[in-house]
Symmetry: C2
């Protein structure tokens, strides 16, 4: 059976890199759709996979960070997050490394909780969201020179309040937090 | 009281546009953090605000679309979504226009359900997620030449199954869907 047009990949007619910087890699492509129409300039942003972690301590506190975000010019409560480095053997290892570096917490029981796309139309990468329960302090934080962030241990009521006020702005973090509330019937 | 460093905006030392295309606007900035450290090349992507809609028909079906997404090279179930055009008087009007154009559905009761960020560190824009209940067919679809998408009316069980299988990849859509499941205790 012939696949519906929307199920078929676009044909890449031509592709060139506009930028290949450590923090910005952009391809410009001319693409042809199954219906024969062409988009002469389609931009694709290449990134390594990202990770974030919904981490809960042994006494039931939710581990959040606050960090200024230059894109929207705001500081909000966020989950601990980062980028999969080439040295990280897996997304799980990247998430555990980031939690350790940014918050000083570790151990606990980890599971990959969601794998979602930052933006399926423009971004090549996926975000691996982990759920870590029973985490505990394991040592000093190790922040990079360009990281200014504070660590906050929130109660379930405080997390519910953040969600109710739409105060977790980052969609890659709002999704696993709402999933946790839905699955555990906490809202 | 002095604000904590992470609560203070970065100082923009210099800023220049690398690209100012209709679908790609990128600024490169040299920024200075409150701790005095500088990031010499920070990239900011400028976009207009985006909209999407969790639309439910009068008989309780959830309105989804399927569309090929070139960034991750996949076709998945998605909420109807789009961009706020300069002609749209409001995000609500943009969302209603998109639903009408892409699916042929309209009317019903609308509320702004979440306002989240596609990526707070790199993107300047916000995504306005609407909840529309009681929508109904109101006319023909009007797709752009570069839009290949099919419309699907899913049951609550089918939506739950998509979420359980992590099959709604787009984070801007996973977040309001999980919120709906949490608030209505449907999961």
């Amino acid at each position: 059976m012939k696949k519906q047009p929307e199920e078929q990949p676009w044909k890449v007619v031509s592709s060139e890199y506009l930028e290949r910087k450590p923090w910005l890699t952009v391809r410009r492509e001319c693409v042809e759709l199954p219906n024969g129409n062409r988009i002469p300039e389609y931009y694709v942003l290449e990134y390594p996979d990202w990770v974030n972690t919904l981490a809960i301590t042994r006494d039931g506190r939710f581990l959040f960070v606050r960090q200024y975000r230059h894109g929207i010019g705001r500081t909000d409560y966020e989950l601990c997050a980062g980028v999969c480095d080439p040295e990280d053997p897996s997304p799980l290892a990247a998430a555990q490394r980031e939690l350790r570096e940014e918050t000083g917490y570790g151990n606990g029981t980890w599971q990959e909780y969601m794998v979602i796309s930052p933006n399926a139309s423009t971004h090549t990468n996926l975000a691996h969201c982990f759920l870590a329960t029973g985490v505990e302090p394991v040592g000093e934080r190790h922040l990079e020179e360009t990281e200014d962030l504070s660590v906050h241990l929130l109660t379930l009521d405080e997390v519910r309040d953040l969600l109710r006020r739409d105060a977790v702005k980052q969609s890659l973090m709002a999704a696993p937090l709402w999933k946790y509330m839905a699955e555990n019937r906490l809202f």
